[in-house]
């Protein structure tokens, strides 16, 4: 219902008064709330700036001043550029399939693997990689989808128990979500092969690659340090973008800082942690804001490469694309596209197909009563630096070792 009020009754003298005066109480409350929030934000700044790769990291609420200080020190000499470049050359060697031990028993066909899929791009890539290796053996893979919510993970594991497959493969979920089902699988003598989470072998877990405390992920961090120092000729001033949600990334960050400090003690280092909710939305804006506030930074290092989705456009719009480069690890296909077009300097890629072939190899050996000792380590050069010049694929993931399945079949004695 609309009621015409203009022209009815006397003028509302209240309305003629200043809006601020009329609502000064409310205005004061709102202003105070915002001021308190912003002041709290200022006091609790998570960014830190230091030189020497973070050995003396200090909290900084006024980034500009800290960045200026960092800038002066980063330009100084002392960087071991030659070593960094030497490391980069070694780091650019891509993954190979490393299992050569011959199977002593014939591998049966017709086995079934149940795979608990995370429901995102990484989980799907792993599924494709498992399927490719399983197909070679004449095995079948049941893809049990989740949306990564605890309830869906729990249900997926219950489905896996009901299916009674020959083996279960998983990736990246906290064991507390499926501990009951894992013990049920163990009681049924069904092995579980895991990848990339905090599990350790035993108590239902047959094999975990890149697991435990995540130490196996350290090369990704050190390779990014090698690259940043080499690519800047020892004049790097790095903004490291962290994603605290993923605990395993702490290992990557620590490895980066250790290598960075070793190669270039005087190079600048700043840390910007971003929330998981910023991925795909405000992350580029947060990074660009930081770069504008700290103009001496010349390199962005991403603890998780998909953070950079949209970053090239944001850098370009801010006029920073010619001044600031970025490198990340664990790329998505979008990142591979950025590397191919030169918008991203480099990425630390992973050999998913080689790794999953190794896990299927482990399953084959386990199911035939053999030792899985040959499968305990990550494939050689599992992490490697990919640039525009040595990019394996511009559009996605696949086998990198050209002889992957030849070696795979040879080791298992499969024709």
């Amino acid at each position: 219902m609309r009621i015409p009020i203009h022209g009815q009754g006397p003028p509302d003298t209240q309305a003629l008064r200043s809006p601020v005066r009329r609502h000064r109480g409310l205005f004061a409350i709102v202003a105070s709330a915002l001021a308190v929030a912003i002041a709290t934000a200022a006091c609790g700044s998570s960014s830190s700036t230091s030189s020497g790769g973070g050995s003396s990291s200090s909290s900084s609420s006024s980034g500009s001043a800290s960045a200026a200080a960092t800038s002066s020190s980063s330009a100084s000499s002392g960087a071991n550029v030659a070593l960094a470049k030497q490391m980069v050359t070694a780091d650019e060697t891509p993954v190979t399939y490393g299992v050569t031990a011959k199977s002593t028993k014939p591998i049966p066909t017709g086995k079934t693997i149940a795979y608990i899929n995370t429901g995102n791009a990484g989980g799907q890539t792993i599924y494709e990689a498992i399927s490719a290796a399983a197909k070679v053996l004449g095995w079948k893979v049941n893809n049990i989808a989740t949306d990564s919510t605890p309830a869906s993970v729990h249900n997926a594991w219950s489905s896996a128990v009901q299916q009674s497959p020959d083996a279960v493969f998983g990736i990246g979920f906290n064991r507390t979500l499926y501990n009951t089902q894992l013990l049920q699988l163990e009681a049924k003598h069904i092995p579980f092969f895991d990848y990339s989470d905090n599990n350790v072998t035993g108590n239902g877990v047959t094999l975990v690659l890149e697991g435990g405390n995540g130490a196996a992920a350290a090369p990704a961090g050190s390779q990014m340090a090698d690259w940043a120092v080499a690519d800047t000729n020892g004049k790097a001033n790095v903004l490291y973008v962290g994603l605290p949600t993923f605990v395993i990334l702490n290992v990557v960050q620590s490895a980066f800082k250790a290598e960075y400090q070793k190669l270039c003690p005087s190079c600048g280092f700043s840390l910007l942690n971003i929330p998981i909710t910023a991925l795909g939305t405000t992350a580029p804006s947060l990074i660009v804001s930081y770069l504008r506030a700290h103009p001496s930074i010349n390199y962005v290092v991403l603890s998780y490469d998909p953070i950079s989705v949209g970053l090239p456009a944001a850098l370009k719009a801010a006029g920073l694309n010619t001044k600031v480069k970025f490198v990340g690890e664990a790329p998505s296909p979008t990142n591979l596209g950025y590397v191919a077009s030169g918008e991203e300097a480099a990425t630390i890629n992973q050999g998913f197909y080689e790794l999953e072939a190794q896990e299927v190899d482990a399953a084959a050996r386990y199911l035939t009563g053999q030792s899985i000792a040959p499968d305990q380590s990550l494939p050689p050069h599992y992490y490697w630096i990919e640039t525009k010049n040595n990019l394996q694929s511009k559009t996605g993931f696949g086998p990198v070792d050209p002889n992957l399945y030849t070696k795979f079949k040879a080791a298992l004695g499969v024709q």
Binding site: I5, G9, A15, L26, A35, T334
Partner: protein, 378 residues
């Protein structure tokens, strides 16, 4: 400029009287009142705070560009909601529609189809999504909240079929297609800002200056009454869903160009920010009605805060806290003023015609930014 109880419907017979002069004088203060532009005051406060906090970097043209460029897609998606929300229809599928159009564009570009053709195919798909939504909500009579959520899931499954949940990349996405979302014009402002403004102007024209716009609002206010008054409400609701899907599809194409990829999750991240801006925008300028300029104010208000916090190196939790506080602050200001107005009207009308009290103080039954249960059709 209006009050929450719209003056624009004053009949000609009632109009020019000597007593109108003071009323006209009221318009400027009312237009500048907290109730009308509360978010603008909050925005100004934020600008002042950051101008003091990080003066060297915040008060620059680069910041303006960053805020505009960085929020153009959010703005487009927020604007896509205005027409259906005005007709009291929720479209929860816009994020999926945006993703779908981006993925389709990338899919065809990667297979060598030209840029215009790929975009055209994506836009056709978006219109089809709108038709599907209209059929579900209007023809089948499914509640829009549930119906569009369900259709969104259908779209998501289709996206998975096409992409296998893996982003589509190709060199063609880095070529001329990037101009769609990254080309700079006018001192570094990128094209998506122009698209956003163009959509806002179009929606403003429709909502404020056409019979269709008034009928949309009427449908949203009271669908049964509007239908009894001869308005084809079902047709309007159907069309509103096509409009939202089309604008969301356009935003998806722009987003795909911006990130140079057909990402199977790209658009879904924007659903909540878009609704946030649309609802916050409804508290501005038009007193509870979803409107284009209010929505843009909301988009820029939140964008300014995020950019400023970034410049000030604020901690991880600051952006979310900021957004929550700003929403509460802006809505509290508006709500307080609304309550003040109602009290004033009550006092004024009590001395005249008690029968008017109820009508004057009644909340518009829908289209208010104050959340209401959708089932409670007036």
């Amino acid at each position: 400029m209006t009050t929450g109880i719209d003056a624009s419907t004053t009949s000609p017979a009632e109009a020019p009287k000597p007593s109108d002069a003071p009323a006209r004088r009221l318009r400027v203060p009312r237009a500048l009142g907290f109730r009308n532009i509360g978010a603008v005051y909050v925005w100004l406060l934020i600008v002042i705070v950051f101008a003091i906090w990080v003066p060297s970097t915040f008060l620059t043209w680069a910041t303006v560009r960053q805020i505009l460029d960085g929020n153009a897609v959010t703005g487009m998606l927020a604007l896509s909601l205005l027409i259906p929300l005005s007709a009291r229809v929720f479209d929860l599928s816009i994020g999926y529609t945006a993703t779908l159009s981006g993925v389709i564009t990338a899919h065809f570009l990667a297979r060598g189809v030209g840029v215009p053709e790929s975009i055209a195919i994506a836009m056709v798909a978006s219109v089809l999504v709108g038709i599907m939504n209209g059929t579900i909500v209007v023809v089948l009579g499914v509640d829009s909240f549930i119906g569009t959520l369900a259709s969104g899931l259908l779209i998501a499954s289709f996206i998975t079929i096409v992409t296998k949940d893996i982003p589509i990349t190709a060199s063609q996405l880095s070529g001329s297609f990037q101009n769609v979302g990254q080309k700079s014009i006018l001192s570094g402002i990128t094209l998506p800002v122009v698209y956003m403004l163009a959509i806002a102007v179009g929606l403003w024209a429709v909502q404020e200056h056409t019979v269709t716009g008034r009928r949309l609002y009427a449908t949203g206010f009271n669908q049964d009454a509007a239908r009894l008054a001869g308005i084809k409400t079902d047709r309007l609701r159907f069309i509103s869903l096509i409009v939202s899907a089309t604008i969301a599809g356009a935003a998806g194409v722009v987003l795909a160009s911006t990130i140079s990829s057909g990402d199977p999750t790209a658009g879904t991240n924007y659903l909540l920010p878009a609704f946030t801006c649309a609802f916050l925008g409804a508290t501005q300028l038009r007193g509870g009605r979803f409107n284009a300029w209010g929505t843009l104010i909301a988009v820029l208000l939140l964008g300014t805060g995020i950019a400023g916090l970034g410049l000030a190196s604020a901690p991880t939790w600051a952006p979310n806290m900021f957004t929550g506080l700003v929403l509460i602050a802006a809505l509290a200001i508006t709500g307080a003023q609304q309550r003040g107005l109602h009290s004033g009207l009550r006092r004024r009308f009590t001395k005249r015609d008690p029968a008017l009290i109820t009508a004057a103080t009644a909340e518009p039954p829908h289209a208010s930014a104050t959340p209401t249960k959708e089932g409670e059709e007036a």
